[in-house]
Symmetry: C2
Amino acid sequence: MSHANAPFSQAEYQRRLAKTRAAMARAGLDAIFVTDPSNQAWLTGYDGWSFYVHQGVILTMEGEPIWWGRYMDMMGGRRTCWMQHDNILGYADHFVQSTDVHPMQDLAVHFKARGLDKARIGVEMENYYYSAKANSVLVAEMPDAEFQDATALVNWQRLVKSDDEIAFIRKAARITDKVVRTAIDRAAPGVRKNDLVADIMHAGITGIGDDWGDYPAIVPLTPSGLDATAAHLTWNGAPMREGEATFFELSGCYRRYHAPLSRTVFLGQPPDDMLRAEEAQLEGIAAGLEAARAGNRTCDIANAFMSVLEKHGIERSGRMGYPVGLSYPPDWGERTASIRSEDETVLEPGMVFHFMPALWMESWGLETTETILIRDTGAAEPLCSIDRKLFVKT
Amino acid sequence: MSHANAPFSQAEYQRRLAKTRAAMARAGLDAIFVTDPSNQAWLTGYDGWSFYVHQGVILTMEGEPIWWGRYMDMMGGRRTCWMQHDNILGYADHFVQSTDVHPMQDLAVHFKARGLDKARIGVEMENYYYSAKANSVLVAEMPDAEFQDATALVNWQRLVKSDDEIAFIRKAARITDKVVRTAIDRAAPGVRKNDLVADIMHAGITGIGDDWGDYPAIVPLTPSGLDATAAHLTWNGAPMREGEATFFELSGCYRRYHAPLSRTVFLGQPPDDMLRAEEAQLEGIAAGLEAARAGNRTCDIANAFMSVLEKHGIERSGRMGYPVGLSYPPDWGERTASIRSEDETVLEPGMVFHFMPALWMESWGLETTETILIRDTGAAEPLCSIDRKLFVKT
């Protein structure tokens, strides 16, 4: 076992494997093929920007996981995974983006060589990195295997974080504090948005002391004015203007772990309806944090928030949060539970959510959010330490 | 038509629609559903970090394209697309990451409402943002439609760039020069890699004058020493060391257009085998540029490079380049032609490639690459202006 660069102890990886195998047993699976880069990293330590070609992890009920990818990325696997090099496999370069052959043909050979040609195999049908084509080729290559949808099977095992993982998220949260503070301090009329984003990124990647900054799974979202009525615009080169609100949705990243936070900055005097919305939002967040305790459900958080907003005469439905931790682009959410009224996931200590009750109104947006840790007892702990309010700069 | 924020003229979008429809006609398609974010942006101007949920563009043989996505991102569509707001559609939030319902059910309603229930519809079977699940739901919802694989149909229309696009790529190349220059100047023993990456990102996003920097579709790849034997490692917090090579694979980005470039920096005296490889690589690149001319084929570039390397006793096979232009994560390549010996795409003026004949050896990596423009006559034009060599800093 090399383990030179994998970020966690062997005990932590064994914990993850045991947990995942228990879920596989419950699902009646002999093996899973995991394409989500976050799941790959969580199981094996693999870390590289190579998910734009087909790659994944084979996990059976025994032995080490097997990382499989492009030959040149196998070298990256040797540098970052904890497994023996025999369990890090590479396929030839002519498979890459070919219309004649497909990497899944190579993968099928490895499945068969391990006696899995008639196995029950779980695949992540709903994942960015498992294309419709990949599935059709793999199924055709293995006519005797039984494929099942195992979307989010591994993701659900990631929901409750270990102490080691929480320590990483706390480091990410310190970096988040730094980047959000940078955004708030630098925001001023006339400052070009891209120059501000450059400072935000610089602050995040320099990190704090020995805790160097990694790339967040989502780039800074920093829209102003009418652009802030939309949820996911990035930035441009326009200067910030008096009389506009800008929301900053940002995260520090420590070794792929995240702690997102949003704050809104208003340059000048905010309109009355925004100030009223701020009051309702802050009261609603406080109610949500109180409801975010072990034994309650995700919907209780959403309902606590919404009932406060309703009292203030503001309508807000939809999803208002999701678990966070280890992630790769394009999403820093874990895609399992959601903080919304339809979701009844029971909260347990060690779960970490981005509680995200943003308000996107007709002429402005107001994002004030927290990354929160579910504790053994009591209300959830917000992991960042930036004041929770609308920042008004006059 | 709003067109407030879309980056190109109406004539340019009409050119793109006409080209795409001609390809649809050749493929016998009535409609396509485009999920590749780059294709969406190329056709409609849509620009937001929302591709982590299902969204896409419906294009039929007549009228404006239709952008379809999550309701909150429809607001972003109104801010960035050139079409009328009637042609920007949003689905309800309870579809997001639900296990009970799927956004493709909403999409099918729109297809049917437009009389496309029996249409021949092209879908991008091999794309990050069209999952195996999305395909299976859409096909099940529209039993009378005939689905065809239209992977890369739009991407191929993007291969020859318009003058407007080349102007954008030239702006990106100026930003690339700035970021690569920053990397080379800052590299020194003891400098932490993440601090250097922070400076690289800062340089790129501040941009040059009015040409503000956008986020590149791939984060900086900056591995040193043994890590540089792998192709796609990013960075960590370790200090750079005397006696090691570090390659920098970087791109500036101007309004989603890219011009990637790699250079390698050696701190100290490089080993002889690296210097010999450098000589071969530079001679090979020069030969490749000579072969990269209109009327020749992509394989001619690869073969020209490889025959020089062979002469020097170095084996290098595999893919060594791809077209670049408009891109979103996780890849800045266009995923159509490849510069490799199996690929016979005929070169035309206006094509832009990242010519990428990197050498990953047993104990080091040497990346020297160019973004090149195929000209009307003569050898290809390298678009960046950083000296083409191994940078030795003693």
